[in-house]
């Protein structure tokens, strides 16, 4: 068998990234869009940690910061979602098309 190199991990990360981009661009449900954004962030994390195996621990420290930021962003995003849902009773992104209603 081919020994597992960094390139294998990068390909997995790229696959997850593309899946996340597809999710963000095509889904209507806001919560699923937010979850696709989390997929993108995880793909980036895998990339960072795979390279840190080669070049030292800086990648892992950066990955920890990315996870922290993802938590903050998910909290704020879901707060916005709840505030919006209370007004308009919908969770579809393409029904958010008026600046004032």
């Amino acid at each position: 068998m081919v020994p597992i190199t960094t390139l294998h991990y990068l390909i997995v990360a790229a696959g997850l990234f593309v899946l996340g981009v597809v999710g963000v661009l095509t889904r209507r449900n806001v919560v699923i869009v937010l979850m696709s954004i989390e997929l993108i962030l995880n793909a980036v994390n895998l990339n960072l940690v795979a390279f840190s195996r080669l070049w030292g621990l800086h990648g892992q420290v950066f990955a920890i910061f990315v996870i922290t930021d993802a938590a903050a962003e998910a909290a704020v995003g879901l707060g916005i979602l709840i505030a919006f849902f209370r007004n308009k009773e919908t969770v579809n992104v393409d029904e958010v098309d008026l600046l004032k209603w």
Partner: protein
């Protein structure tokens, strides 16, 4: 720790991660998508363990799978209405989205195929990442070189907490 059966675990975990990713973007029920995302997160934690990064794996399990996904599940339970499951799941510009994603994928493929540095990794010495002191060395970096980023991250979390509370309250 001596690695055991690395290719088997790598293919298993990355297969689970990609399967979870596909399920996230295709399920109608948002709770099923959240469960698939949990599967992806746990598979990624396993991949981090294989990459000699146990602390990042532990943080991923505690924060991401045990914290953020609980938050997602609560919000899904709060806003999930029955009729949203019977509507269209994909929006009107799904073709454009797919084309864009395929273009991105092609870009990745070109970069990976053409880069000599990624193919020539056998000559490059791997970093010394002893697993027994991973947490301690990350702590040295976190409280040494990256102290400012650490403090800013804590400030960011404070702002996020206050912001989320203010936005989700019924009356300020």
């Amino acid at each position: 720790m001596t690695p055991v059966a690395t290719p088997f675990f790598f293919y298993l975990l990355s297969g689970l991660a990609l399967l979870g990713g596909i399920l996230v973007i295709t399920r109608k029920n948002a709770v099923h998508s959240a469960l698939a995302l949990i599967l992806t997160l746990l598979a990624l934690a396993g991949l981090y363990l294989m990459l000699y990064a146990p602390f990042v794996a532990g943080v991923q399990i505690i924060l991401y799978a045990g914290g953020i996904m609980v938050l997602f599940l609560f919000v899904i339970m709060l806003v999930s209405i029955e009729k949203s499951q019977r509507e269209d799941q994909f929006n009107k510009q799904w073709i454009g989205g797919l084309v864009g994603a395929v273009a991105l994928g092609a870009l990745f493929v070109r970069v990976f195929v053409r880069s000599k540095a990624l193919h020539d990794l056998t000559g490059m010495p791997m970093a010394q990442l002893p697993e027994q002191s991973n947490t301690q060395e990350i702590a040295v970096y976190l409280y040494g070189n990256y102290m400012l980023a650490f403090e800013i991250a804590s400030l960011l979390l404070l702002v996020a907490i206050i912001g989320a509370v203010v936005m989700a309250k019924k009356r300020i």
